[in-house]
């Protein structure tokens, strides 16, 4: 089609902000039909003669009509919107999960409203949920892998479907998560299989359920091999805390094998080791957790446990949808992680 210059531009994009959006009725008038007919054309409900349909569609284009979602929500009771309670962080895991959810939702035509919490406290999580309920969301996904989240969810109202991502097994709501304990067991076994007498552990924050599950998987594996678990060093997921943990470990007696609860801390620890002249894999074997994109390029490339966060997000969305449809399907999805072996546990 040839460009019709000024007319089109001028009509479609009036610079003033005051122009009212066209409504169904406006379109109906212009097309010479009733507003219901327009509604039927827009939504594809009910039969409309092709000729009429064309007239309506022309009017829609002419007025640049856009359905008002608030009105639709009010009339139907359905908002086609989901709420997500997300962590206010750029941690790789939570951020990836968020995108997994957003993706799945968008494909299904659902909008996503986010409410983030800076600190994993019971109150703030309850607040976030409450806030979302006010936004008339149809369901809520909570990405909040801490203890506090589990507690907050206990007192969550039951009248809006809710799915937790990565929360406690004991949480009173449906849950989708990666099997952290299994991942930790794989990591620990891998290190033991390399001939180490014991495996040390740098854990995440104690109030993170995932940190605790990894710790558990580690300690129960040692136990199964009749090995007494050494002291746990705790970090906060950050590279800096991993660095400090590394120095602590060096002082505590130079481990030969360390399972670190996430890749970023492993990076910090490797750095602390390197500064002390302790090289991996020559002097120490290290396994991380998460498989962040960088971990293959650490020095040395890091053996780690891969979690498929996108899949977690997808399954969480699916589970929520099935709840919305009132299908009482499963209440807990566990996703199995995968051990990725790289140089940090390679030949010395």
């Amino acid at each position: 089609m040839a460009r019709t210059s000024s007319t089109e531009g001028g009509r479609k994009a009036p610079s003033a902000q005051g122009v009212r959006q066209a409504s169904l009725t406006d379109v109906a008038e212009l097309a010479g039909v009733s507003h219901m007919t327009v509604s039927r054309v827009i939504n594809g409900t009910g039969p409309v003669r092709p000729e009429t349909r064309a007239r309506v569609e022309a009017a829609v284009r002419e007025l640049d009509y856009r359905p008002n979602s608030a009105a639709r929500t009010l009339a139907t009771g359905k908002s086609e919107t989901l709420g997500v309670v997300a962590l206010d962080s750029t941690l790789y895991g939570p951020a990836s999960t968020l995108y997994g959810i957003e993706h799945a939702a968008r494909e299904a035509g659902y909008a996503i409203t986010i409410s983030s919490v800076s600190r994993p406290q019971r109150q703030s999580i309850s607040d976030a949920v409450e806030y979302l309920r006010r936004q008339a969301v149809e369901g809520i996904l909570v990405i909040a892998p801490h203890e506090a989240a589990g507690q907050a969810l206990e007192f969550t109202p039951r009248d809006v479907p809710l799915v937790a991502v990565g929360a406690a097994e004991s949480a009173p709501v449906p849950v989708v998560s990666v099997d952290q304990r299994d991942g930790a067991r794989r990591a620990t076994k891998h290190l033991l299989a390399l001939g180490h007498r014991t495996v040390w552990h740098v854990a995440g924050p104690a109030d993170w359920l995932e940190a605790r599950a990894r710790e558990q998987g580690w300690s129960e594996t040692l136990e199964a091999h009749d090995i007494e678990a050494p002291m746990v060093v705790r970090g906060d997921w950050s590279p800096r805390s991993g660095y400090e943990a590394g120095r602590t470990l060096l002082a505590a007696g130079r481990p030969t094998a360390v399972f670190v609860a996430n890749d970023q801390m492993a990076l910090g620890m490797l750095r602390a080791f390197a500064e002390a002249g302790v090289a991996a894999p020559r002097d120490v074997h290290v396994v991380g957790f998460d498989d962040v994109p960088e971990s293959a390029y650490y020095s040395p490339p890091l053996t780690t446990v891969r979690q498929d966060f996108i899949e977690v997000g997808r399954q969480a969305f699916e589970l929520l949808m099935s709840r919305l449809r009132n299908e009482g399907t499963g209440t807990r999805h566990l996703i199995t992680p995968e051990l990725i072996v790289r140089e940090s546990t390679g030949p010395r």
Copy 2:
């Protein structure tokens, strides 16, 4: 107050999903007033006798009333919701910006609806904007630092306020961004000041405006020193592409100074160098961009250019708000980045 056990619990959290949410009218009936009085109590508009107010508040609690935002939006024309077009990625920058925005918005009582795009194409960005408009957002923030975003924004409707984050200076909308060129100039000057005869550059994807601005800052600095710019090696922000760039550089003649367009690629490059026995800072000086939390723990710790993404998010939100209030304040905010010097450009 003592807990009244079963009555309360039973009424407030009926497990069935079918129970209708209480409406203003329900509350009004229970409190023995008109629905308008309830509305006034809820919103604090208009005078209400303390006694009446108390009765209404009791009824609100009793019924666990929650205002219906769709109805409110329909009646007032204000949705108190902003739309954000975000990149479907876990890149540190975009993710951080998103959280900066969310934070600022939440404090101001605005909800955030996200629409993410997987690939920075003009069409997908237009679609995302269109999608948000349908959600009745009051304003839109576009985090999309690519060429395509700039193009898409040109054809964006003018009737919903829109602010771009990190887009082209030439974009036809208000923009908030970090001064990439300035950052690149600082990085390049820093390397030149260390006595290098030239500085190589590993650039980001050509369709990212930020990549181009950094490249420009680099090349114009060389030019100002009468140095001919060496060949540009291009990556895609990923550590893997940085690794490949590193190998390319090694083959192309072993540079002594490299400015890499982001930290992750710098990591990959350092890895490629290390594998070839080229150590930083002994044999080569490297500067990155972004200052991701990990960069202080790379081997060696990376000199880089810090961008305050949270501040970017905050200012973008502010700018959008001022647009909403129809204050014609500034149209472009530039935030100055900061050079962080670490070992990767340290003494040899």
